[in-house]
Each structure stands twice: as structure tokens, then as C-alpha cells.
Symmetry: C2
Subunit: 330 residues, 2 copies
DNA sequence: CTGAAAGCGCTTACAG
DNA sequence: CTGAAAGCGCTTACAG
């Protein structure tokens, strides 16, 4: 009742192990008759190749990796990554190695190790930073990779991204069209590339607009909002870099007696059940993260099969107006 | 610039490959002097063992697996799993294979394959069902496993769980003490073991209390709430099986003009930022899922090192009263 | 087109 | 205590 190996197949099919290997992998070198015989024996035996042995003989590891360098305890709130992972797996038949680390150094170390150990065939790079050291690392390692969310700064790596800048511009235009003059932005982690891109787009579309830096948590989102609403020039609209901060901001507004949307319009970058379920429901930039993950998976598959680097733009997040935004009433 | 193998170490240390292996793994068979020499050569060479080769020679795969059999697109809302995974990894130095599948059959198939391929040393079983077929499967396979969240129905497997029943009882007692007579429950997936446990505890604590079955999504949570609030005997309190449904329920109440908490008290099983951020913030059962994951990881580590099966009870979720619950006013 | 052999990097009996 | 060898299950040149 041991699991069958190519040796067993070879014996029953009356050929050599090498021939079995060639037949199983659809490679030339065996006659069609032999191949068919091998295949039928294999399936009758319920044969499944050992990915371990395969990886050792320097073929594929049949696995890809994704490492998340964010404080583990804050990860739960980020539904983005789970959606992304689910989308990736819908498209990928191989295993996904997922690791949560607490520093960029640990992340770099992990790529080295995974690659050295033949544990993965390739990796997804997320949370791209400006001049991200991971890009030259995987390039020099020769580790196949797809940069998820990096428009620019991804060297010669294949990249899949959405146009944050355009999305941000659409939000600001929308607010301007509602008559808003003082628009503020509560931004995500400053070190992330997309934060920089959104900052720039925001500045360009809303010259003089205030940007307060935060970190995606409800605490910092609330604090930033309090700062903005109690300041000298109170904004009439705030654009948040994620759903959690936007909801926390709405809470602070309520607490301070600032009516939403009458006195303050709120927009969230990245939609979620959270945005839809609260009152008033939040206007948000929505996108299909699941599909985005699937696209990233296809891109990595292409890289693994030797395709040259590509740069794929995903659909731009779409603004979904809800009750948290309105015409300025002053 | 190839990575060093035990052969390289053996050459430089002037010993055999076998001796290197023994020395590196801290096993008897080599003198202390030899061991030290080997270790110092290894570290000077920056040696790292190939987990692939190690797995092939039937040692450990240095990885554990977790498969999630839930509709991928709904996973994003479940912060529970991400917290759990983060907690697991905080305690576990090995790799985690994560796979999202869409059927129980696929899940079973995956365990078979992982184990046959020597891809994992053990697995975490989550979302335990009543008479779960995975339990006899991994037992017969001899696949080391830890059942997460299964109190009962986990055969001879090690299990880590929280006392859902006690938690549910505490919620109902709390509501009864506030004077509530008609308490309802919006339950999660009926097939899950903890749903059954909570159902039973609810029935026992609130005889005659209505239970409506749902599936953790905001849609079903809203529908169940609508059903309850427009029915003949409107409940004065509803206990939801997760945060998303509770928030959706609060939305429906607002829509129907049912005041929370004056006319309706709401409690969520499982706390989250969602519960804290909305208005009124929801009374919830809170627990440290990150710590729960860490505990599960330690349990699996123990199983892997040959410990006999244990049954560990995690801390019972604690009720955190917030503004969504109040004395009955009728 | 096919077979026999070497090799991937380890671990593990088995002799000395 | 140590060395030489076999074996894990594949793949891949290399001969026939």
C-alpha cells in the first residue's frame, strides 16, 4: 500500500524509469505507443509524482511564495490580502507558501532561503516601496517574480498594477464637481509606493489640499480626522486611503457633531462590506481584488514559463457614490 | 558561488558527509570536537540545509499546511483566519502551505496529496463539522494534525478550542439580566460544529428563542434580521454569529426604524474593528485570535515531536458591553 | 526511439 | 566515535 513511484510504473509497463519520466512529462523521446502504455499504467496505479524528488532533481518546486511584511496583529483588518490570495489560488494549481514577517530584513532573508532551498519557483512581491530593495534582490537572484501593485520602480520585473493616480484624480474631480474647495487626504504608510503615487495625484488635482499621514489603523485614522476637523481650515471633504480609517473618521465626525455628508463628505479608497454596512454608507473606490489576484497569478505563470517581463495594467478602481458624499452646502 | 552542501562542509572539515549530517542535527555519533569543527565550517560557509533533499530522505518537510474550504470570494470578510494565520506563524518557524479550495472533496484530496508528496509534516484542521470526515482521514493517514476549534468530534487528534457554549450562555444571561424575554439568534453555517454547539447552548439558556440560520455574509445576515423584525413576535435582542452579520442587522434595524438599543439589543459573536467603529458600537464577544493561533501552533509542534494527543481549552471569549445593548424599555 | 547510469543533497543503517 | 555506502524519487545527459 505504498504509493507508486516511476519505478513501479517502469516495471509494469516494461520500460525504463527514464522513459517513464519522459512519457509522463510529455517530452519527446518515447514512441506514442509507449507513452500511452505508461500513462495508462500510471493512472491505474493512481500515480502522483513526488514534488519533493522533482524539486531535488532541479526541476520545479511546484510552489510559489508570498511574504507579508506587516505587523501581524494588524493584518486581520486587511481584507485586501485575503481577497488577493484567494484570487491567486483560483488561477494557480500549485501550492502557495505564505509567510508573515515583521521586518523587511526578514523578508529579504526569506526570499534568499526559499530560493536557495528550491522551495518556490517564484514569488509575488506586494507592498512595493519606492526604490524597493527587493527588486534588485530577486533580479540578481534570478528568482522569478511578479510585482503586485507596482507601477514603476519594478525594474525589469513583470508587474501587475492598477492606476492609483487616475483613481485618485477621479475622486478629487468628483468632489470638486460637488463644489468642495477644501479637500484633505488621510494617507497610508508613507513608505509604500502607491501612497506616493496617490499623494502626487492628489496634490496635482487639489492644489493646496492637506495630506495627513497615517497607517491604515482605526486609531491613526481617527486621530488624523480629529486633527483635520479641529484645525483652523476645516476641510469639507476627506479622502481616506482605506476603509477602516474612513469608517473611523466618520465616527470622529459624529462625535464632534460634524454632519456627514451635510458638513463633511467622506470617500474611502478601497471598498468593503464595512463601507456598505455603516450609516451613512461610504462613497468608495471599488475594485475586484479577487480578479486582480487571478491576474497576478497568470502573470507569474507566464514568467515561470519563460515569457519576457510584461507590465499589465488592471482595471482602474471605480468610484461608487453613496450617501457619505454630497454637494457642499455652505 | 553555488550554495554549499554537506559535501563541501565534509571536505573542509575533513570528515564524511554522514558525520556532517549527524553533527548538524545534534545527534550522537560524533565527538564534540568534530561537531564543533563542522558547525564552525558550516556557519563560515553560510550553509543552509536543503529542505527538499531532507524531505526526500524521509525526514521532515519543514512545512505545515492549512486548507480553507470556503467560497474564496467571501473569505476577505473573515478577519478571523488572517489573525489565526498570523498567530500561527508568530510561533512557527517553518513554512505554511495555504490553500483555498471550493469543496470538501478537494480538501480531502489535498491532504492525501500533501502527505503522499511529503510536502507537509502536519496540518491544521479548521471549520470542524459534525462527524467530520477529515478526522478519520488524517488519523488513518497518520498525518499529524491539530483540530482548531473542535471541542468534541475530533477523535484522537490534538485539539485546541474555546468554549463557545459557555460564551453563548454568558451572552444570553447578560441579555436576560437586562430584562429581555424574546431573544433570537442569527446563526452561522449549520454544518459547522461550533454552530451546533452554540445552538444548543442558546436553546438551553433561552428556551423558545428563535434561531435563524445564515452563512456569515452581510446579505444573509440582513435577510435574517428582516425576517425576525417583521415577524409576529419581534425579538428585543438578537445575537449574531459574526461581526459582519451583526452590522448588517443593525443596518436593517435602522432602515425599519427599530431603534438600537432602545427597541433592539444587538450582540456580535467575535469582535472586530467593524464592531467598534460603527454607531452605536456593538456589544461583542471578544477573543485574542492571534494568541489562539499561536496556541494551535504550539500544539502542532508538540504533536510533531511525538507528544500524545492533548485537548487544550483556550480562554473563553469575553463579553464586551457597548452601546448596542440596553435594558429592555417596554 | 529506448535503456542504463549518474546525480540532485540529504539521512540512515551498517561496518570498522 | 567515524567512514563508506545505499537509498529517497525523480530528471537528464549519454550511449546504444
Amino acid at each position: 500500500m505504498k504509493r507508486p513511484t516511476i519505478k513501479d510504473i517502469a516495471t509494469r509497463a516494461g520500460v525504463s524509469k527514464g522513459a517513464v519520466s519522459l512519457a509522463l512529462n510529455g517530452r519527446p523521446g518515447v514512441s506514442d505507443a509507449t507513452r500511452e502504455r505508461v500513462l495508462s499504467v500510471a493512472s491505474s496505479l493512481g500515480y502522483r509524482p513526488s514534488s519533493t524528488a522533482r524539486a531535488l532533481s532541479s526541476a520545479s518546486a511546484d510552489a510559489v511564495g508570498l511574504v507579508l511584511a506587516r505587523p501581524a496583529r494588524t493584518l486581520g483588518a486587511e481584507s485586501f490580502f485575503f481577497q488577493l490570495i484567494a484570487g491567486i489560488q483560483a488561477e494557480l494549481s500549485m501550492a502557495l507558501l505564505l509567510q508573515v514577517v515583521d521586518s523587511h530584513e526578514a523578508e529579504i532573508e526569506l526570499y534568499r532561503r526559499w530560493w536557495a532551498e528550491h522551495r518556490v519557483d517564484g514569488v509575488f512581491l506586494v507592498d512595493l516601496r519606492v526604490d524597493d530593495p527587493r527588486v534588485p534582490l530577486v533580479e540578481s537572484l534570478g528568482l522569478p517574480a511578479v510585482v503586485v501593485g507596482g507601477a514603476g520602480h519594478h525594474g525589469n520585473l513583470t508587474s501587475v498594477w492598477a492606476d492609483d493616480a487616475k483613481a485618485m484624480t477621479s475622486v478629487v474631480s468628483y468632489l470638486l464637481s460637488l463644489g468642495h474647495k477644501r479637500i484633505a487626504r488621510v494617507a497610508g504608510l508613507p513608505s509604500l509606493l502607491h501612497t506616493a503615487r496617490r499623494d502626487a495625484a492628489f496634490q496635482a488635482a487639489a492644489p493646496g489640499g492637506v495630506i495627513v499621514s497615517a497607517d491604515y489603523t482605526d486609531e491613526r485614522g481617527a486621530a488624523a480626522t480629529r486633527e483635520l476637523l479641529t484645525g483652523a481650515q476645516r476641510p469639507t471633504a476627506i479622502v481616506y486611503d482605506n476603509d477602516v480609517m474612513a469608517v473611523a473618521g466618520a465616527g470622529v465626525a459624529a462625535e464632534l457633531g460634524v454632519a456627514v455628508p451635510a458638513e463633511l463628505s467622506i470617500v474611502a479608497f478601497d471598498d468593503s462590506p464595512l463601507c456598505r454596512l455603516i450609516h451613512p454608507p461610504l462613497t468608495a473606490l471599488t475594485r475586484d481584488t479577487f480578479a486582480f489576484g487571478a491576474r497576478a497569478a497568470r502573470a507569474l505563470l507566464a514568467v515561470l514559463s519563460g515569457a519576457r517581463p510584461t507590465d499589465t495594467e488592471d482595471t482602474t478602481p471605480v468610484l461608487v457614490p453613496r450617501a457619505s458624499t454630497a454637494q457642499i452646502s455652505s
